[in-house]
Symmetry: C2
Subunit: 260 residues, 2 copies
DNA sequence: GCCTTGATGTCGCGT
DNA sequence: ACGCGACGTCAAGGC
């Protein structure tokens, strides 16, 4: 990273700097007293208060209150950002097209503003045991679900979606397997039922539907029973042990140990 | 807001300041070169790069890359945060219980660090035209959907959900109305069909199903036609004009005008 | 572009 | 504390 600038600033100074920083596509951090108006997919108004505002080089804008994970207002990306002085206040207007959304941040005070240019972040983000890996492990070890189960196809495309795993049991009956990496709710059961019905109709033979997840909600279990679908709970720990090999750059053993 | 501190900092200085700031529950902003390990509901590893890190007074932690709306790593809130020097690197470890999650941020450089204390933000966040208000406006003005429509009940509980509006048309036929504030997809059609079937079964008479939204996807429209359900598009602008009264602090007319 | 699914979703509300 | 549904969900991937 090459440069930075700081402005413990009057509104005038802040306006000048912000306008330039936006034009230069810097990463901008502002702490100030502001109110926020949003009109777009919804509409909202936030009264005056102290907030942290972030403007990224790609036009993303985040307005954070002092507490909580989520920004209170935001713009995932914006086509353009305008900085101006309006009636004694500093207005930062961020506009997004498609869908048309306008975010206005009205500053009455800028306690602090700083910007950065030339941040270098080319690193890869590795995620372990995501939906993909979860499926791969199950597909490689169908015996954890049922003896004699044979995987025919994964990510099988069907009308309007994908079947996670398409398998055949020891009796030769097709089994459609729907996976949920974390928790299966009744939504997952509905989805599975849709696929089972579709296949039953197309194949003209009985098809089993199996919902697989580390945890299954009671409602999901009841609905599955009613619809003649099966549920299998699988232990995440057991699956982790079946993981083929540590991928490059896997989290250190120490961190995993710390979790236990 | 009462105080601020700045540290364009060596790792040692940064460690001291960060530890104190965390203890004092300040809002902290750090820009530095770091790698990140996360283990919890998922596991991830992020290689070294320049990032913006935010630590809030309530223990929320956000790690932002230079682009995009979403943090690459985060902790919605953490029970405790530990700052230490480990093998020449500055480690910020944030731990959350229930679910157990550990986020490790390893700094090799701290370009910039600043903190704030005593931010005051008590303002109310008001959202307009949320799902509730959308329903209320439609329910108060059923004529925008059809002449002679009479609303019987809103938020009517049924098996496994709620009917947004239960109405009767000029012929005395029950009409089940499903609302989507933004866009109706085929999921909404499926939901509506479920309610219509349920009612038809229970009442033993023909029941109309009506899907109402500012926009309806093509797929949803096709599915609705196939299932004998109706779609009504309503203009958000028109609804806004039907809004009973401006609520305190409503977005200024100018911003709404700007949207048109 | 629209559509679909997954997410460390987060959040709020009800039981 | 869990379950459940909504969200300005966001973001990725297929068509």
């Amino acid at each position: 990273m090459r440069r930075e600038q700081v402005v413990p600033a009057s509104l005038d100074e802040a306006a000048d700097s912000l306008a330039r920083w936006v034009a230069e596509k810097r990463l901008i951090v502002v702490v100030g007293r502001c109110s926020v108006d949003y009109v777009g997919r919804s509409s909202s108004k936030l009264g005056e208060g102290d907030r942290l505002i972030i403007v990224k080089p790609d036009g993303s804008v985040l307005v954070h209150r002092p507490r909580g994970y989520s920004p209170v207002n935001w713009q995932p990306d914006s086509q353009y950002i305008n900085v101006s002085l309006e009636g004694g206040r500093l207005l930062v207007r961020s506009v997004r097209e498609r869908p048309r959304e306008v975010l206005d941040i009205w500053f009455t005070k800028v306690y602090y503003a700083v910007s950065f240019q030339g941040m270098v972040d080319e690193a890869r983000f590795y995620e372990y045991m995501d939906e993909h890996e979860f499926r791969d492990i199950i597909a490689s070890h169908p015996e954890v679900l049922e003896e004699g189960l044979r995987v025919v196809e994964t990510e099988k495309p069907v009308k309007g979606g994908y079947i996670d795993i398409y398998a055949v049991d020891s009796q030769g009956t097709p089994v459609i397997i729907e996976l949920k990496r974390v928790r299966a709710t009744k939504e997952a059961v509905v989805q599975l039922k849709r696929y089972v019905d579709y296949f039953q109709e197309h194949l003209g033979v009985r098809v089993r539907g199996m919902l697989v997840a580390p945890s299954v909600t009671r409602k999901a279990y009841e609905l599955a029973s009613k619809l003649g679908l099966e549920c299998r709970q699988v232990s995440l720990d057991k699956l982790l042990k079946l993981r083929p090999k540590a991928r490059p750059g896997a989290p250190s053993r120490s961190l995993f140990d710390y979790m236990e």
